[in-house]
């Protein structure tokens, strides 16, 4: 614990050193929100640094543009230090605090959500149906999925865990909010909310001046933004598919499985395709990326989330194609296991970046309006 505090202090000291030099320089002002927000400050307490870190989307422009980048003796590497502080901020806001260590060890999370939990699902499945039972072929009319796991079971397990995840998010958000409004600035208001939401949905800053960011290397490219769009909107479409299905089930009394041309399946398929293209693209870029401005631990955390999403999508699409075959049972359990893995990893992995980035942009907008 002692070591951890010392390590955090050293990180904050480095953040403060770097931001002080940037604040004397300001050449990168036009790249993103970090620099204008920095210029509104004369000192950089840990709270300020965590706020700035969550404004940074790691586009790396300021690294390649920096006249003081290593080996210059000032050794300025803004994306690297801000990524590390961002990771520290995720730990800081984690609820319950004990789980914060997952941010430092994303491999555990990967193992848990992609191996352990799907295995637990399979074991339960085998215990309940036996191997032969799981391999049985059902037609849609027989309500194939629910032969393996009843709707009530699904709803109660996922509903319960879903509520837990929601609670963890809310607690995290409250900690975050207290932290970044330590100086009394209010960060909620409709007008700002709209602007911040718009910035997020269009990934305004990742687009930079229209030519994208310097990722994976020093040449500008829109690939990262586009793949992120595939991932984000893919995720949202899948979420929409589930929501529509819930409405069908409870309000229209129309249970799954749905035909190929029904709304939930179309949404889910499109989303699934997005969740294959997006994560594959991002993983490919990640493999090619310049390591100098990167933080390796955060990078494996990113990879973890991408892999989970990718495999959920692959199993989901296979499930749709093979749902009337003997593969259905096993696939469904793996798929559900992965989804459960995603649920549990969400408050303790890369997923939280969306929440805190939104909050940081919110503060940025209200700050900007005031000054």
């Amino acid at each position: 614990m002692q070591d951890k505090t010392k390590e955090t202090q050293a990180l904050m000291d480095e953040g403060e050193r770097v931001m002080n030099i940037c604040n004397a320089c300001r050449y990168c002002e036009g790249f993103c929100a970090v620099f204008p927000a920095m210029e509104r400050r004369f000192s950089f307490a840990s709270e300020d640094l965590r706020y700035l870190a969550n404004l940074c989307h790691d586009c790396r422009e300021c690294y390649y543009a920096c006249q003081y980048a290593p080996p210059h003796e000032f050794k300025i590497n803004v994306p690297k230090v801000l990524t590390r502080i961002r990771r520290q901020s995720y730990e800081e806001y984690t609820w319950p605090a004990g789980f914060a260590r997952f941010f430092n060890h994303p491999v555990y999370m990967l193992f848990l959500s992609m191996v352990i939990i799907p295995m637990v699902f399979i074991i339960f499945g085998v215990m309940e149906h036996g191997i032969d039972g799981l391999m049985q072929v059902y037609t849609d009319d027989q309500g194939s999925f629910y032969q393996v796991m009843s709707h009530t079971q699904m709803v109660s397990v996922f509903g319960l865990i879903g509520l837990y995840v929601l609670l963890a998010f809310i607690m995290g958000w409250l900690k975050f909010k207290r932290d970044i409004s330590h100086d009394g600035t209010k960060i909620t208001g409709w007008q700002d909310m709209k602007q911040a939401l718009k910035d997020i949905l269009t990934m305004r800053y990742l687009g930079s001046s229209g030519d994208g960011c310097t990722y994976p290397d020093e040449n500008q490219s829109l690939l990262r933004r586009n793949f992120h769009h595939f991932t984000f909107y893919g995720f949202m479409l899948c979420f929409a598919a589930t929501s529509v299905a819930t409405v069908y089930h409870y309000w229209l009394n129309y249970p799954a499985p749905y035909p190929l041309l029904s709304l939930p399946v179309i949404l889910g398929t499109l989303g699934g395709i997005g969740l294959i293209i997006g994560p594959c693209g991002l993983l490919y870029l990640k493999k090619k990326r310049d390591k100098k401005p990167s933080d390796e631990i955060q990078s494996s955390s990113d990879t973890t989330l991408l892999l989970i999403l990718l495999f959920i999508s692959i199993t989901g699409l296979l499930l749709m194609l093979l749902r009337e075959t003997a593969w259905m049972g096993g696939l469904l359990l793996v798929h559900l296991g992965l989804v459960m893995g995603l649920f549990l990893s969400m408050p303790y992995g890369k997923f939280v970046h969306g929440i805190y980035r939104f909050g940081a942009l919110l503060r940025f907008t209200s700050e900007g309006r005031k000054s």
């Binding site: 004397a24 320089c25 050449y27 990168c28 036009g30 390649y64 543009a65």
Partner: protein
Amino acid sequence: MTSNPDYDVIVIGGGNAGMSAALTARECGASRVLVIEAAPEHSRGGNSRHVRNLRCMHDQALGVFQDSYLESEYWEDLLQVTGGRTNEDLARLTIRESEACFRWMMQQGVRFQPALGGTLQLSRTNAFFLGGGKALLNSYYRKAAAIGIDVIYESPVTGITIEDGKVQSVDVTKDGQVKTFQTRALVIASGGFQANIDWLREAWGPAADNFIIRGSPFDDGKVLRLLMDAGATITGDPDQCHAIAVDARAPKFDAGIVSRVDCVSLGIVVNQEAKRFYDEGEDFWPKRYAIWGRLIAAQPDQIAYAIIDAKSSGLYLPPLTPSIMGNSIEELAKALSLDPTTLKQTINSFNLAIEMGEFDHTILDNCHTSGLTPEKTHWARTIDSPPFMAYPLRPGITFTYMGVVVNEQARVMFNDNKLSPNIYAAGEIMAGNILGKGYLAGLGMTIGTTFGRISGREAASHAG
């Protein structure tokens, strides 16, 4: 010279002027172009790596500019800062070309941003590079690679064979090995000689040892010396340069913009004897900061201390290094190793001489001293609210002005007023033609780009 030399155009120096020349030479049809750069790749581009803006004339709103900045006003500004020590033809050529330079830079992929926070006074006249000079250079080098320009790094030029004002070949020393490249035309864009302390000492005496060099350690003037030895005509005095007040604790070389200290006009500046020596409130800081390098160079041991009190904190651009603080004047004096009694006297008589008006740092206000030598004519406020803060100051040299004489085709002039048929110069190495003294923010880039493009064009046409 062999009938088929290695290169059509060789450019010495890969800063703004050199890259402008190389890119333009290639655009104008030279097929084999080589840029020779002394620095390793990560610190390529000399002082250009530290720049932030370009001064650009415009008849109407243009890109990041609003309003207009006409040739006449630009010329007046230049005339004023140089006190007439300028070659009007070359100066006007530069001013007229500046708009084309701006557009050309954009074509090379250079991106601009509006004036940076804290520099609004430049928003009508200067375009700022998004990300600064290093980003500018990255765009140039990326374009150079795309259109097939050769670049060699860590390869200082150590010899030039010139016969009768005509270049034959260039010697480069890399890893102790000398390599010779023959060329049809040569563009020299190796910057000033400010990083050459021995040379500065010739002009300034031992004071030069206390100078801080704000830019690249590679701008050592060796190529300028080669040209002088070969009989090139020289313009400007060796002690003329752009020099500002920088934090004495900054690194000796390459600290760039961040070592500047911005609080001079808010307080007082004393020398080692704890005495004031110049009107700190003479004019707006951006108009005066460039005289303080020379002022401090004239003080004993080339050191001075800017002193402010708590009232001024937060009113100036944040510094590289925190201030030295004291809760009383004695404490501060001790921390600065100044004589406490004299410092107290200086501050007391300063405080007593103040005729307080309405303090406003954004205008030439009416807070001034009366009956003091020297007076402080604006922004004079008592220094009496602890904590007291100080920044030690040294002269920080930006670049030297002395260089080679060129004509409007950027051709270098040799003794007997003979223009070289195939040697051209651009950038700091010829800036003295236009800047005999003084400085206008952003003019260095304008001169470099204008003459870089002219020499590239002329060199290509000579080679072709």
